[in-house]
Symmetry: C2
Subunit: 650 residues, 2 copies
């Protein structure tokens, strides 16, 4: 990176760009192709271009900002992009509300047909009016009517609903609809609203939040929306959020608040887009990894960061939404499926539920690829799960030009093995601005296939297709024009050195390259360090699979099915997953990609009491395996970081 | 009252005084004999003399007050007495925290022996530490240990406690004590605390709050404290508070907040006086009339003010204390006994429980005298209850020199029937400053007995013992010296008119009196209007009794027992109660005074699950009678306001 350039990192999109001179933040962000909102065109009056300065000295708010922003926002570093200049290396966080372009977030996976049997039932009642001769209390009147009109017994009414009820009864001529959950009244509405019964299912991921608005009468998904998890501003991975939240209570409260606010805002958007009020949402289900689950509830997570990483509870939780500030019906509950362990959360159970893995015959693997990758193996009717610290490489983090799946991200890469020229595809066919997980996976597999890297992951000097950046690091540039130009000019980079299978360079070779190679900076590329990141990530996953197989005393050949769940998992090319050795070499038709299964499981538990019960049974029957206590762990890991040999590539 | 005097009314003590000229508030209050706190002697620095200006123009806070008082206090009219002047008729409210002298509040009545069987059980557990080979979640570890060590099954842990638990476990070497309520863990403490198990029982009266700190292991009352209900500043009687709270949501929130704050502060005082932390209070029970019950819970009360006055619910309530801001153990509950109707609250059920009225043989009456007087009759195993609007006369309200039972209040009156000179006794033998309920009752009974008033309540001109105030109203002065002086000077007031049984004055008589009587102002006295107030109050109660008897088809003679409950009821002279006709003329040995039975019932429900169950059964079996729908109601009332004839006086 040039010394005189200002480095700007934009979160949570994960885009990095450089400025040659101090530039107005709004202009710089727009110039980088990020569609940040701005109505007043930089006057500072519309307040749309709110951003958060994440590091460095806090910018003093100016007079305009004091007018437009709340005290709370100001004290937390929120500023208007149009009112400040980037004049030093800066990381900014752009909240979803300031972005006009939705990011590419896959919300839902393959749905399964589930018999609708929601925990919420609605009953319309026309009450007898109270008179001096019949002064029965309001709740007792409702209770008796429910019994006589619908043969329904309730023994409880939510405390807040009890307080709201008398006015609703009287404003609606004693005609009401009550919503009953188990034997508790959790909502009272005026008139007959029995045809409207809605819930929300959420998959709270470390990176993304998927929110489904569901009709509890039909079981249909009415609408859905995905947003980034705003906690990213406190750390990309689970561990850094655990560290942040464990520092003090204020941090814990804040990290909880941002995710609760974000969910409230998505729920509000979904409701208003579909003609609903948020208090018509009668139930919410939420799944997530154990850290997300705990942070959402405002639970301390310090112990999740310390061996042996125990969860607070592995029971399911029924919680009044208002207890944590979630705005749905005042008496509404949030249902949280059980978690299995500190690093196997309810999203894993939800995936097992949604994919029916729990009752599959034979030996089946379910895997949800993420910063932590959880893998379940059902074998002979017994279920075991592991969690592997695969790292955020596939989310685009720790990869020099990595970014998340946003417009402009390279998502597909094919390399011509003869010319070594890549073909690329970007999201929304925008000008490439970085490379996202599926693109990185493709690139590595194609580099292997084209023998540009060897099985140890080292660059092989071939066709002059690799070059150095200004710091001297070897890299493979992902911009096809770069390679084409080079070929057209027949520049061979001095590295007609055919193959150097060791991947290590002699002094002479280095000199050659130095002199001959393009000194290319700021071109999107994959470098040696990026490849190591991918090796570590796929090695961790492969190790998890190996130990699950070892524990069940079966081998690759016995595997009947591999289910790849998760948004990322649905974008990747299964062939390349095998080619980089992340999975054992199984027949491709054994692999299925089911998309975001966690959100589907959350939805199933929302619309069906029996599915909810099954998720709790999964929680009880799934056996957690702690990888590090297996004596074979290090051996497995050491051998898993290598790539397959060229002859194994399919 | 003289035109040029400034009238100052001090709440909640109920003292009124007059100032000849504008006077510093602190000085004036102290001069009136009220022991308001002041450490800095009027400099405005100690902040002890906080008062609330209730009517008239709000005083602007000065600089000193802006320093010492919170924004919230200032916006709600709280000021420092030392920083302002009384310069117009004013009502001020002095919060208990600003008073150095405790008011005379009877907290507890006669306790009954009850087998201790608290709903809260504590268990000490030494947990196995989590290891990589045993990563069970914390709650599941506790659950399993409770089962294996104590054979106790829990299925739930309070959400907040769950969040606090991991740190407590680790700070205490995995040795903890859990408190279990039904099958829920509501508290986790470090080490073995099984010998400490405390609860709070509260009787929330319209005027007074009685708070008991109870040992849940022994059932003993450890300490107790009574304070005024601060809601008095929003109206003395239930109806004016209902009106205030129904105006808008802010009023409702505020009227709830003051009582919650007051209870929190008393609980804190009791705890710190007894070496406890408030989070060691594991359970709270609370009883009160239906309006107090609803307002405490923040429930709307508009419907309680409108016929047919239905309650929100007549079920018992188990509520997390934190839901309404009560500071006890974070997972602790408040248990509220059922209410019977809009004007028969849980204090009534509590009284029936505490007095065992519910299982008495024969025909027994239980009565709790207050602003609303609830009366229960058990007859032939059936229970009926009524509520009568007896008004606040016995609380000292609507009585010219009335005040509550605070130091200096005349609480006993005996009148010499020959000389008509009264003997008086004041609370704490202080200089008399007013007359409280028991004094008023005595005075009226003695006036009747001495034939100074007739059975219609009219003054009889006799011995010159009645005189006029400056406005021309007839009054009987309660200061013995006044009468003695008059007798010593043989002044006959021109009214040697012996007896005038009609009580009405002829023109000539009025002239006589006008000329001859002392024109006595500002001497504590009982006037004609005061007597009417007492007639209405006792008439209301008597009507309730009459209708209960009529409904049960029995007569006075059939009554086996009358139990008088309530703090006020324990101070009164039962003979005088009969003499003014409040009760039918029954043998005095059928009457028992049990003191504040409501708080005792609250305590019984606190220490015993079976007593709690009984209170719920009482709630179900007690039949509410609406007085006004009885055709005989008006006739009963009309005849009940008269006093007994002289020959009936005992």
């Amino acid at each position: 990176m040039s010394k005189n350039k200002i480095k700007i990192q934009v979160e949570p999109i994960g885009i990095r760009f450089f400025l040659g001179k101090p530039t107005n933040c709004l202009k710089a962000i727009q110039d980088a192709g990020i569609e940040i909102k701005s109505v007043c065109r930089g006057k500072g009056t519309c307040g749309k271009c709110r951003i958060l300065f994440m590091n460095g000295k806090q910018k003093e708010p100016n007079e305009q900002e004091l007018k437009v922003l709340s005290d709370d926002e100001i004290s937390h570093g929120v500023r208007l992009a149009c009112q400040h200049e980037f004049n030093e290396d800066t990381t900014v966080y752009i909240p979803a509300s300031s972005l006009s372009e939705e990011q590419k977030l896959q919300v839902v996976g393959q749905e399964r047909e589930v018999k609708v049997d929601s925990i919420i039932k609605k009953y319309y009642i026309k009450l007898e009016r109270a008179t001096l001769k019949d002064v029965k209390a309001d709740f007792n009147r409702i209770k008796d009517s429910l019994k006589s009109l619908h043969n329904i017994t309730v023994n409880k009414i939510d405390f807040k609903v009890l307080g709201e009820m008398p006015q609703i009864i009287r404003d609606n001529s004693w005609e009401i609809t009550v919503s009953v959950r188990n034997e508790e009244i959790i909502s009272v509405e005026g008139k007959d609203t029995t045809t409207r019964n809605f819930g929300i299912a959420i998959d709270l991921g470390t990176t993304k939040i998927a929110v489904l608005l569901v009709d509890l009468l039909t079981g249909k998904t009415v609408d859905k929306k995905g947003v980034m998890n705003p906690q990213i501003s406190f750390g990309e991975d689970v561990m850094s959020r655990i560290d942040f939240a464990s520092e003090n209570k204020a941090n814990l409260n804040w990290i909880q608040k941002v995710v609760v606010d974000s969910i409230n805002s998505v729920v509000e958007d979904l409701c208003s887009a579909n003609g609903l009020k948020t208090d018509e949402i009668l139930e919410m289900t939420l799944v997530g990894n154990t850290a997300m689950h705990h942070l959402f509830l405002g639970f301390p997570v310090k112990q999740l960061g310390l061996s042996p990483f125990p969860a607070l509870t592995s029971e399911s939780i029924n919680l009044k939404a208002r207890e944590i500030g979630i705005n749905i019906a005042s008496g509404g509950y949030i249902y949280l499926m059980p978690v299995v362990a500190g690093f196997i959360g309810s999203d894993h159970i939800s995936m097992i539920l949604a994919t029916s893995l729990y009752n599959m015959e034979g030996n089946c693997i379910g895997i949800d690829i993420g910063t932590n990758t959880e893998i379940a193996l059902i074998s002979n009717g017994k279920m075991f799960s592991v969690s592997t610290a695969s790292g955020p490489a596939f989310e685009g983090a720790h990869i020099r030009y990595g970014m998340r799946a946003a417009p402009g991200a390279i998502e597909r890469v094919v390399i011509d093995p003869k010319t070594c020229v890549p073909s690329i595809q970007t999201i929304d066919d925008k000008e490439p601005v970085g490379i996202c997980g599926s693109g990185i996976l493709d690139a590595v597999a194609e580099l292997l296939k084209a023998e540009i890297i060897d099985k140890r992951g080292k660059f092989i000097l071939k066709n002059g297709c690799i070059c150095k950046d200004k710091l001297g690091n070897l890299q493979y540039v992902l911009i096809p024009d770069f390679h084409k130009k080079r070929l057209a000019e027949k520049q061979d980079c001095g590295a007609n050195s055919i193959k150097n299978s060791s991947g290590e360079l002699s002094e002479a070779e280095i000199k050659d390259i130095k002199e001959a190679l393009y000194l290319c900076d700021e071109l999107i590329s994959i470098n040696q360090k990026d490849i190591v990141e991918i090796q570590l990530a796929k090695g961790a996953m492969r190790t998890g699979i190996e130990i699950l197989l070892e524990n069940a005393n079966i081998s690759f050949a016995d595997i009947d099915k591999i289910i790849i769940a998760g948004a990322f998992g649905s974008y990747i090319d299964p062939k390349n997953v095998i080619n980089i050795g992340m999975f054992p070499n199984v027949s491709l038709n054994k692999i299925s990609q089911v998309g975001n299964a966690a959100s589907i499981g959350a939805k199933m538990a929302l619309i069906s009491k029996s599915q909810r019960k099954i998720s709790e049974d999964i929680g009880k029957s799934d056996n957690y395996l702690e990888l590090t206590i297996f004596p074979s762990f290090s051996d497995h890991f050491a051998s898993s970081v290598s790539f397959p040999s060229p002859e194994e590539i399919i």
